[in-house]
Amino acid sequence: MKRATPKRDLPPISMFSLLLAAALLIGSLFLPWWSMKFYAPQYPEGLNIIVYPTGLAGEIEIVNGLNHYIGMAPFSEASFPEFRVIPYLVIGLALLLVVAAFVRSRKLLGGVLVLFLVGGVVGLLDMARWLRQFGTNLDPTAPIDLEPFVPPILGKNTIANFTTYSMFSWGALLLLAVIGLMAFALWNKQARTGQPRPRPAVAHPAPVKDGQAR
């Protein structure tokens, strides 16, 4: 009896690339993905909101304390259900990468890549939604009346005495690297041709005739 197995059409180098991608993905669980830094005359050292896939870090309580003056809702890990889901998604994707690495199927890997990209886009949209939510649902009874605003996902913004800088962090770079490694696994030359890469031919420079040099 013959077992139905997907076609093993990815070269060994793709396997290593995918295993590395899986490792980086797991590694990103321990690194911040995104952060916002707040500067004001009284805070030359800056206040931080640091977003990990598993929770928040930085001077959250101080930022919340200041935000109440403009009527922004306080935020905490409890206010974001995503933190309870993301770690499992990340581990799940990493497992899929490991499976794809050993199965070495282009089809399977393509599926994982699409899943990954969809997840990324959904994640960014979710962030944008939260930022809009916090910036526009300001308590009208707050002592300082401020026009609703939407903090950018990336870049500089000014609110009252604060200048904020939003930026992606190390974890997000790892996620980009994971995409890169998946793309490499999928589209490196051996994977495309199904042939081992030929050894590069040694190029012999043409002999230079005397007097031809400038």
């Binding site: 309580e61 101080i62 304390g65 200041l66 003056y69 300082i144």
Partner: protein
């Protein structure tokens, strides 16, 4: 064309250079101005930069600790220690009120930083209260007074506080002799009924608590100053005495009759061993050891008239007495004293205390011509000593080994103590010296008859001392400690400790508990509100009945640097502060009925003015 201009310029420049090198005296022409500029640069610390040293200075009869930065001499903070302080609510809140023990003032003379191996470790600072017989510890992590201990049997621990080289003991010898156990005895019975007591105190750094280990009973002399030995002399304490005449009136004259008073040498380790054996009587629960009962634990050395300071050299080999009424510094050798003790070579006995002959301990007398009123000795790292001269108003630098006077500089005016950078440790830095002056007179803008005191800062890193700046200071500078800034490691916010008794960390947990006529508030302070009771219609209003005992526990949940909240209750004469992350308690009886606004007294935020509430006291 370009070439011609360049050549001409080059020629002019070289000519100017040659002229400058050979003929000009740029340096001299401009000497006054450039010297002043270089002096100014030595004390100028730009915004954003920090000073090199902390100066932890006694506040004398203000009962407070003054903290300055050196070399800028900017006053950074007043830390209340022995006196009530409205600005910080010290003496109002429950903990500090209990520590003060009902006293409203103290007289803080001599700070000592805790030491390890004879060097400052920067953890705690100890302070003596000459007025009310107390010792205090200031925690240098928070710059808060951590503990105060009342010392029985003492007559003002002026000669403290001096720590042994690993802070095993903090020595506090008495200034006035008194009968022990608060007994009454007429002054006519001074000789037999009055005692001079030395308190030997231990400090537990973990518990942040003092323990009076034992007291030493001595003749009713006045003990002026003391110092603990170092290295070879590490087991010893030296103390100066005056009034060996036993004057009981008009001390100015009557205590200044003898040409010699005594230096007392005490071996604290021998006494501690004796106390450990348990064979020591107790007086009012305090172990009191008579050193005459412990062989080899006490000796006296005659020293020129009414000495003031005595200071042990950084290497621990010598002790230097400053003569005060004798215009000289006397260098004594520990080794010579040890030799005389070993050989049993004594000149006699006084009160049963073996007296070693002056000449047998003397190394040299240093008597700079015209220098009068030497009070205290400090050290640098190159074998030199510095003495303040109260009467001739100067600082004298001299070499310990040779006695040679190297420099003399005037101060403005009449210095008491001097403090050099880490100058009383085994490893002085030899960079700066401060003279703490008793008289300022015309130095500053006049504020009428109440003049400030003053401090002069010198750069002592060179062969001669350079006067850098004179600054006014509040009464009353006595001794200080100048410690390298990086040795002090502070916390700027109290850590959030959810297990701390009476603390509340979320607005919703604020609550009021009533038990009979007691009202306990477990509240929070945050920018810019108080919440006493999260469930109440008005969370920042507290209603009690006249006669209720009210206890406010307030936690400042702004865990943000420098966001201190105050808590003042109008017409109740109450105010306290709650520092970031701190829980503080205010306890009082609401004996007046009426409506009493409560407000934040320490400016905290843009809505500080709105940070308020009410205490409503219903009439009985």
């Amino acid at each position: 064309m370009l070439n011609k201009v360049l050549t001409a310029l080059l020629g002019l420049t070289s000519g100017l250079l040659v002229a400058t090198v050979f003929f000009a005296d740029i340096g001299k022409q401009d000497d006054g101005a450039s010297t002043l500029q270089s002096v100014a640069e030595k004390v100028y610390v730009p915004q954003g930069q920090k000073d090199e040293y902390y100066l932890l200075s006694s506040g004398g009869h203000s009962g407070q600790l003054f903290v300055y930065g050196v070399p800028s001499m900017r006053k950074i903070r007043t830390v209340p220690v022995f006196s009530v302080d409205a600005a910080t609510g010290y003496g109002f809140d429950k903990h500090s009120k209990e520590m003060l023990g009902g006293y409203t003032w103290g007289d803080f003379h001599h700070p000592a930083v805790s030491e390890t191996a004879g060097d400052y470790d920067g953890e705690f600072l100890f302070a003596n209260d000459v007025a009310n017989n107390r010792i205090a510890a200031v925690d240098l992590t928070y710059f808060h007074t951590a503990d105060i201990l009342k010392l029985p049997n003492m007559g003002g621990p002026h000669a403290g506080v001096f720590v042994t080289q690993n802070t095993e003991y903090i020595a506090l010898p008495t200034r006035f002799a008194r009968p022990v156990s608060d007994e009454y005895a007429a002054l006519d019975r001074y000789d037999e009924a009055y005692k001079g007591i030395v308190s030997m105190v231990q400090f537990d750094r973990e518990e942040r608590k003092f323990n009076l280990a034992y007291q030493i009973v001595l003749p009713p002399w006045s003990y002026d100053l003391s110092d603990a030995g170092k290295k070879v002399s590490g087991d010893w304490i030296v103390m100066t005495t005056y009034n060996t005449e036993f004057a009981t009136s008009n001390q100015e004259i009557n205590a200044s009759q003898k040409d010699r008073d005594y230096l007392v040498l005490i071996n604290w380790r021998k006494l501690a061993d004796q106390v450990a054996t348990g064979d020591v009587p107790e007086v009012d629960g305090v172990k009191m050891v008579d050193p005459r009962d412990v062989e080899g634990s006490i000796f006296a050395v005659p020293t020129p008239k009414s000495p003031h300071g005595v200071d042990v050299t950084p290497d621990g080999t010598r002790f230097i007495a400053a003569g005060k009424l004798a215009p000289l510094m006397t260098v004594f050798s520990f080794q010579k004293a040890f030799n005389a003790i070993e050989q049993g070579k004594f000149a006699g006995e006084e009160f049963g205390i073996p007296v070693i002959a002056y000449e047998d301990v003397l190394e040299r007398e240093v008597d700079p011509p015209g220098a009068l009123g030497p009070l205290h000795t400090q050290f640098d790292d190159r074998g030199n000593a510095f003495n303040t001269m109260f009467i001739s108003s100067e600082v004298v630098k001299w070499n310990i080994d040779t006695g040679q006077v190297l420099d003399r500089k005037p101060v403005f005016y009449s210095p008491g103590h001097a403090t050099s950078s880490e100058g009383d440790t085994v490893a002085p830095d030899g960079k700066y010296l401060i003279a703490g002056n008793k008289i300022a007179k015309d130095s500053f803008l006049s504020v009428g008859p109440s003049h400030p005191e003053s401090a002069d800062l010198f750069d002592i890193s060179g062969d001669t001392m350079q006067h850098l700046v004179s600054v006014p200071v509040d009464p009353e500078p006595h001794y200080s400690q100048m410690i390298k800034a990086d040795k002090i490691k502070t916390e700027v916010v109290y850590a959030k400790d959810e297990n701390r008794p009476n603390s509340v960390w979320a607005s919703k947990d604020a609550r009021v508990e009533r038990k009979g006529n007691e009202v306990h508030v477990y509240g929070i302070a945050m920018r810019s509100k108080y919440i006493f009771d999260a469930e109440a219609e008005r969370p920042d209003a507290l209603t009690v009945k006249q006669g209720d005992r009210v206890v406010f526990h307030l936690t400042n949940i702004d865990l943000d640097q420098d966001i201190t909240h105050g808590f003042g209750i109008m017409d109740y004469d109450l105010n306290m502060e709650v520092q970031p992350g701190q829980t503080n308690t205010l306890e009082f009886v609401a004996d007046k009925s009426g409506v009493f606004p409560i407000y934040c007294t320490n400016f905290c935020s843009a809505l500080h003015q709105e940070m308020s509430g009410y205490l409503l006291v219903e009439p009985q």
